[in-house]
Amino acid sequence: MYDLSCTDLTKTFGTFTAVSDVSLDIPSGSFFSILGPSGCGKTTLMRMIAGFERPTSGDIAIKGESVLKLPPNKRNVKMVFQHLALFPMMTVGENIAYGLRCRKEPKSEIAGKVARVLDRVGLPGNEDKKIDQLSGGQKQRIAIARCMVLEPDVLLLDEPLGALDLKLREHMKIELKQLQHQFETTFLYITHDQSEALVMSDNVAVMNTGRFEQIGAPKTLYDAPASGFVAGFVGDATVLEGKLGEVRGNQGRVILEGGKEVIGTVSDGSKSGDAVEVFLRPEALKLGEGESGCQLGGKVESLLFNGASSRILVQTGRNLIEVADPEQRSDVGEGSAVTVSWTPDRARIFARRPGSGAAA
């Protein structure tokens, strides 16, 4: 039984297709993210689920029943808006009680429910505060409490962390995940920030130009991306452009634009002679000699210090390669000659993405 499933959902605006043939099934109690660049159709998809847009075709079912005919206020799907949309003329308590009062619940029960949900989000006793007296993180929690007090089947979250500053955002990521565990409700989270999606989700759908490129656990997306788009969008990667030469098994030899050759794993249907891109994750690379074909010589361009995620930038030919440097090696400095190497299974080869320039 799925809490939310979409079947072949399509939405067109005039001649523009915002969402094209999207299907997804979200199991009960899981944290599901839709990750994609802005304009990929993820917000339209969410608005269709909430009932603010009518799908052109396809079906949406909540707990197994189609909700296409239900207006937004009859669907048991609640939404945390991008800018939260807390009602500024109401107090915190009134904001949370709004939904309960719409349901005509008895007054005596409302106060108790409001107090309990405030307690669960860690803001007990704040009923009488004004919305503008709250900090960004507190507003966030009130917006979630306002939805959760109604015990929805699915909670939709539309990039709610976008307006927060970096430090708070990192903190709220963990908190959101904890809240989801606590409430045991299905969360559908929309974001363009891959680290939010990876950290919090049980499953992530990567969306591009109205379609799902891949659905999978965060680790699968990171380690075994299904397309060049996913490989480039999820996590960091250095991209080398070239032409696929000889292919043996799933190992391919790529002739780079500078003439050098490298070996990697062909991860989609690319054939010999196709224009391809080689994706190298920073942590899959190390300084030092490797197998023949799995290395590139170069010169250290600069050292980027960032604690455990420090990087070394290596200039090889026309490419700048990012190498992870968690221990902050002291034996290389700017300008030293080095060799970057990898194992063939960690260099992924995909067909060249349309529109990707040489400066990818």
């Binding site: 937004p72 009602f87 109401m90």
Partner: protein, 288 residues
């Protein structure tokens, strides 16, 4: 140095406003107040006291005219709100960015013509030999021309038409500031159209509603041309009484007392309206 310059620019910018308030509002009001408490007992001999006010209160015609004016003004304000709100909503929320300016302009165009000409426009339409009456006769809907002027209904129509813009403008500006996500959140959390309107839109628009109502009420209660021209002798509008005292009867003392009474009474109505709806000037009109 820069502090002096700042102070100088403050003085320069503030002076025209201060002069306007002082010379054209405060001083004349003090003058009127002064005239209203004196009584002529002989040539150039005056006594001071509240006799003019006493006369005003004890004479039912004056008292009733004031009450009638206030009551009709409240009615006009309510009608302007009911008619103006959907228009403001359309301009602020439904119309596209480009047609919004055009719609606003269309609301403003009537202001380019003077009150007098606009009132005569209504007269041309509504009088016995006017456009509407004659057309209805021609179509055979009525057998003989009817007089549609000189009744309360016409006065109210004319006044609503004159003041509605002052209701629409503050409403549009508050509604424009409302994030559409608030409405969607209202529906999403289970609210019906009525609930969303009552619990979200109206409270959000309250500053605009209060500002619009105060302006329209004050303008209506103090208007002179429209009620006189469209209501004729039957209009019994309070400003007409003031005019009569000053001009016809040349009784400035009594006229001044009427003027002060009108100001005090309309201020009281506004205050009572704010109290009844649980609003205050600080949280509505003065709000960001």
């Amino acid at each position: 140095m820069s502090r002096d310059a700042g102070r100088l620019s403050l003085i320069l910018l503030f002076t025209p406003f201060a002069l306007w308030i002082l010379l054209l509002i405060i001083l004349p009001q003090i003058g009127i107040g002064y005239v209203s408490i004196r009584e002529k007992v002989g040539i150039n001999t005056y006594e001071y006291g509240f006799k003019n006010y006493f006369d005003f209160i004890t004479e039912p015609v004056y008292r009733n005219t004031l009450l009638r004016t206030a009551w009709m003004s409240i009615l006009v304000t309510a009608l302007a709100l009911v008619i103006g709100f959907p228009i403001a909503w359309y301009i602020a929320k439904i119309a596209r960015e480009r047609s919004r300016a055009a719609l606003f302009l269309m609301c403003l165009i009537p202001l380019w013509v003077s009150d007098l000409v606009r009132a005569y426009g209504w007269i041309v339409l509504l009088r016995e030999t006017g456009v509407i009456s004659m057309t209805l006769v021609k179509w055979g809907i009525i057998s003989q021309p009817i007089e549609m002027l000189y009744n309360d209904m016409t006065v109210i129509i004319g006044l609503v038409y004159t003041v509605i813009l002052f209701m629409i403008v503050p409403l549009v500006s508050t509604l424009q500031g409302m994030d559409d996500a608030l409405l969607e959140a209202g529906y999403n959390l289970g609210g019906s159209r009525v609930t969303v309107f009552r619990r979200i839109i109206v409270p959000y628009a309250m500053p605009g509603i209060v500002a619009g109502c105060i302006i329209t009420f004050m303008l209506t209660a103090g208007s002179y041309l429209t009620p006189i021209l469209l209501g004729g002798k039957n209009s019994s509008w309070f400003t007409e009484q003031i005019y009569n005292q000053f001009i016809t009867r040349y009784n400035w003392e009594s006229g001044s007392a009427f003027g002060v009474s009108l100001l005090v009474f309309t201020s009281f109505v506004v205050w009572a309206g704010l109290r009844l709806t649980g609003q205050s000037l600080a949280t509505t009109v003065a709000k960001e």
